[in-house]
């Protein structure tokens, strides 16, 4: 089975070569993206088959010289293969339609399959070299894709920060794995599993893994590249980056911390929980204040990554106390939410892409009323928005509900730090969920509802059939995962058990409609019944209305408060929608300031409102770092201008110093 995966990788390489050759032709485009769809489907199938199957390993004479490359397909890998397969298939399908709008296909096609392949390779890698090789290749390929529209404003900066952070994460992971490998270089994961590092080493490895994987996943405070890079790339690539690549980072974290490292101390869980909660709230707040549709989605990815990491942190906490069922529940919730996020975030990015190529506009202040121009897209995106806003009966709610259930197991924990941290996290998560609802009401409302705010929005067109198909597919996925959570929980069970040692009671076996994570008396949820009830009662009420109420319906202009023919500009804008939130949270967190300028009567100038936001993370960490480096560079640069004699002075001083050192040493 693992051979299939490797073949899929090879196929991707072939596709990328083909793409480099025939990138400009429409046929080439269709073949490459179609090929990626097929490859993804194969990978998806393999994952589904392999998750319950026994572990398969394979060693090839490539990779680290003299040692060779080890590959392994276990339950966790299989689960993430499913994720990649889903995301890849969807993105490929969407791209088959959407990529016809691409101006520079020859900059996308050669790298897209490599990107996909590298993600697959990360998941099946079984030694440090192959793992990091694939990890950094993933960064490099996605960087090339981010640079596609390099002549657009800001893309180069985005690419720069992205690759720099990516290489940073790679190097940090390199150190972590190096420490795990030990002095005599046991680079294979098999060796690391049996070698138990000293406590200090374990702690260090954990911190490094958190920084390294976190900065690829987009965890605050190492998330800054994400909202820059994801929007800059072509839409289907953004979908893949947000929907899948961040999950690969999650995989890296789980693989190192749960599988290779043994059991990290409880304070590690505390850190993860803290960062997770902060990421969730900060991410969604940023999203809520964002005007650019794709950046909004990118920030909401930071939010969801935070939620996922809260789940992982809970699992670590329970694991540190050997409470395996709890750990299993928490990790299941995290993996489930990761899967869901792949589904709805890809869907939303497809939607954003459809809007972008349909109207040429991604600033929601200039959109509106697209529900009339792009009805199918609107339906799909609406489902996505409801899913990401964690509304029943869709999948977003199911996974967040599981996370809350895991949090309610907290009393079993002895450590006070965790006891106090978890309720706070719960509040943060609830806040994030509510803000996400607000955020996506805003996003959907401003984009699809109301009246068009620009001619671009007026002339928007529905995307091609491929793109619509991709969106509908994922909408259906969101619904299915929402109504049948039990199936997915059972599906993820082998991976969870492999990582935590515990497992949840099988859901479908007990009762195929309801999810009972711990005990029926404790809590239960049935997405399918929920859906049925809502459907039935909607139908009933509609029936009753049509039975008893009048059917008369008049069309008329909306209530304009007595201002005749008010233009679309009087609509509530995205900025004004976010204003209450900005005022409540932003003033503290982003030092948000607004200055309104209303001219005197008779004055002809337009009224204006200026608002400024500061990103505390950027101002607090990255700007100072950049300043330090550039200051050092400036200080050292004069050494370029010295004269021969001064260089000789260096040599002389070095010589004398070394001789001196030698005498002292003897």
């Amino acid at each position: 089975m693992i051979e299939q995966v490797l073949l899929a990788i090879l196929a991707c390489v072939g596709l990328s070569m083909f793409g480099a050759a025939a990138g400009r032709t429409a046929a080439g485009r269709l073949i490459v993206y179609g090929g990626t769809v097929v490859v993804s489907a194969v990978v998806l199938r393999t994952g589904v088959l392999a998750i319950a199957a026994p572990v398969a390993t394979l060693t090839l004479p490539i990779g680290l010289p003299g040692i060779g490359g080890a590959f392994r397909l276990d339950a966790l890998a299989a689960f993430f293969l499913v994720l990649i397969g889903l995301g890849g298939a969807g993105a490929g399908l969407f791209a088959m339609g959407d990529a016809r709008h691409e101006q520079a296909p020859q900059r996308v096609l050669p790298f897209y399959p490599v990107f996909l392949a590298s993600m697959i390779l990360v998941v099946i890698a079984d030694d440090a070299y192959v793992f990091l090789f694939a990890w950094e290749l993933m960064s490099l390929a996605s960087w090339a894709l981010v640079m596609t529209h390099h002549q657009h404003h800001g893309t180069i900066e985005a690419g720069y920060i992205y690759l720099l952070m990516a290489v940073f994460s790679g190097l940090v992971l390199m150190l972590a794995l190096g420490l795990l490998a030990g002095v005599d270089g046991g680079f294979s994961f098999a060796a690391m599993r049996v070698a138990h590092p000293a406590p200090w080493a374990a702690g260090l490895v954990f911190v490094l893994a958190l920084i390294g994987a976190g900065s690829k996943a987009g965890l605050v405070p190492v998330h800054v590249w994400l909202p820059l890079a994801h929007p800059a790339a072509p839409s289907h690539v953004s979908a893949l980056m947000s929907g899948v690549m961040t999950k690969i980072a999650l995989y890296g974290f789980i693989r190192i911390v749960f599988d290779l490292l043994g059991v990290p101390p409880w304070w590690a869980a505390l850190i993860v929980l803290l960062l997770g909660g902060v990421s969730a709230v900060l991410g969604v707040l940023h999203a809520l204040l964002e005007r650019d549709l794709k950046r909004l989605l990118a920030y909401s990815t930071v939010d969801n990554i935070g939620i996922i990491f809260v789940g992982v942190g809970l699992a670590m906490a329970f694991r540190a106390d050997a409470y395996l069922e709890g750990a299993a529940l928490a990790l299941t919730a995290a993996l489930f939410h990761a899967l869901n996020h792949t589904a709805f975030k890809s869907l939303l990015f497809f939607g954003a892409g459809a809007v972008l190529s349909g109207s040429g506009e991604r600033d929601i202040e200039h959109l509106g009323g697209l529900i009339h121009r792009m009805p199918r897209t609107a339906v799909a995106v609406l489902v996505g928005c409801m899913a990401i806003a964690a509304l029943p009966p869709l999948n977003g709610f199911a996974s967040e509900w599981l996370i809350f259930q895991a949090m309610l197991l907290r009393p079993e924990l002895p450590q006070w730090g965790l006891k106090l941290m978890i309720p706070v996290d719960a509040a943060l998560l609830a806040l994030a969920a509510a803000l996400a609802a607000a955020c996506f009401v805003r996003a959907f409302g401003m984009t699809f509802l109301g009246r068009p705010r620009s001619t671009a929005a007026e002339q928007a067109r529905e995307p091609s059939v491929f793109s619509v198909a991709a969106m509908m597919l994922f909408a259906a996925l969101c619904f299915l995962a929402g109504v049948m959570p039990g199936a997915l929980i059972d599906f993820a069970a082998p991976a969870v058990q492999a990582m935590t040692g515990g497992r949840l009671p099988p859901q479908l076996a007990a009762s195929w409609v309801t999810v009972v994570p711990v005990a029926a008396s404790r809590s239960s949820y049935s997405g399918i019944l929920m859906a049925v009830f809502i459907g039935v009662s909607t139908w009933l009420s509609a029936l009753a209305i049509h039975r008893f109420a009048s059917h008369a319906l008049r069309r008329a202009p909306f209530w304009d408060c007595g201002f005749p023919d008010a233009g679309p500009m009087i609509q509530y804008s995205a900025t004004s929608f976010a204003q209450p939130i900005r005022r409540i949270f932003g003033s503290v967190m982003f030092r948000a300031r607004e200055s309104v300028d209303i001219p005197q009567p008779g004055d002809m100038r337009a009224a204006s409102i200026v608002r400024e936001l500061h990103d505390p993370i950027w101002d607090g960490i990255y700007a100072p770092l950049a300043r330090v480096v550039s200051a050092a560079a400036d200080r050292l640069n004069p050494l370029q201008f010295l004269t021969v004699r001064r260089y000789l002075v260096f040599v002389f001083v070095a010589l004398v110093a070394l001789l001196l050192a030698l005498t002292l040493w003897q």
Binding site: N637, P638, F641, T643, R645, R646, L655, V656, L659, L660
Partner: protein, 220 residues
């Protein structure tokens, strides 16, 4: 190893160090060139003496080279150059002469200190010789880095290299000494020619970067 031979060799080497110090406190170019000639002369003597006591005839060639090229030819060439190119005659120093001398003392101390632990079965001659040679080398380098104009730097390089030849000659039965000394003479000749051709006057070292503008450093 006969005591007297040993003392003579030793005396000559010490003399060389002494002359190096004399170089350090010269502040006139011509005088410096004279001292250089003296330096090379003494080197020639000590090499010749080594040739005698090791009865290694090929060392006489080295001695001859030292005498012919370093003690006569090069000083003469440099003198002409100073005359032709109208370099101004006094040497601009970076740090004061006195301080330079002190540093020189420290360097001698250092080189003795460094060579001290060399165990006895590397015979004493070598050890002492090496200590002195090393101090000559270091002082030569000190000269190069504390003098601002090209000629005196060339002189510094020459004295440094004299130290090396001294060490080489002192090393009993060391092969290739002649070849090396020849190679070195060529090198020095090239440097002198370079100074002459490239018209590298005080520009060899200037205090302000501005003067280097069109040059390598300035490019950046």
């Amino acid at each position: 190893m006969h005591g007297m031979e040993f003392d003579v060799a030793h005396m000559l080497a010490g003399l060389l160090v002494l002359v190096s110090f004399m170089m350090l406190y010269q502040d006139r170019l011509y005088a410096l060139l004279n001292v250089l000639a003296l330096h090379a002369g003494i080197l020639a003597l000590s090499v010749a003496w080594q040739a005698f006591i090791q009865d290694a005839p090929h060392l006489y060639i080295t001695a001859a080279i030292a005498l012919g090229i370093k003690a006569i030819l090069i000083p003469w060439a440099l003198r002409r150059m100073v005359f032709r190119m109208g370099l101004h005659r006094e040497i601009e120093t970076v740090v004061g002469i006195g301080l330079t001398m002190l540093v020189g003392m420290a360097l001698v101390a250092l080189s003795v200190e460094v060579m001290l632990p060399v165990t006895a079965h590397a015979d004493p001659v070598t050890r002492e010789d090496l200590a002195l040679a090393l101090s000559v080398v270091l002082i030569g380098m000190l000269m190069m880095v504390t003098r601002r104009n090209a000629v005196s730097q060339v002189v510094g390089f020459l004295s440094m290299e004299n130290g090396i030849i001294l060490a080489a000659a002192g090393a009993h039965g060391m092969p290739l000494v002649v070849e090396i000394s020849i190679a070195f003479s060529i090198l020095v000749a090239l440097i002198v020619i370079g100074v002459f051709l490239f018209r590298i006057r005080e520009r060899f070292d200037t205090v302000d970067i501005g003067a280097l503008e069109p040059f390598g450093g300035g490019r950046e």
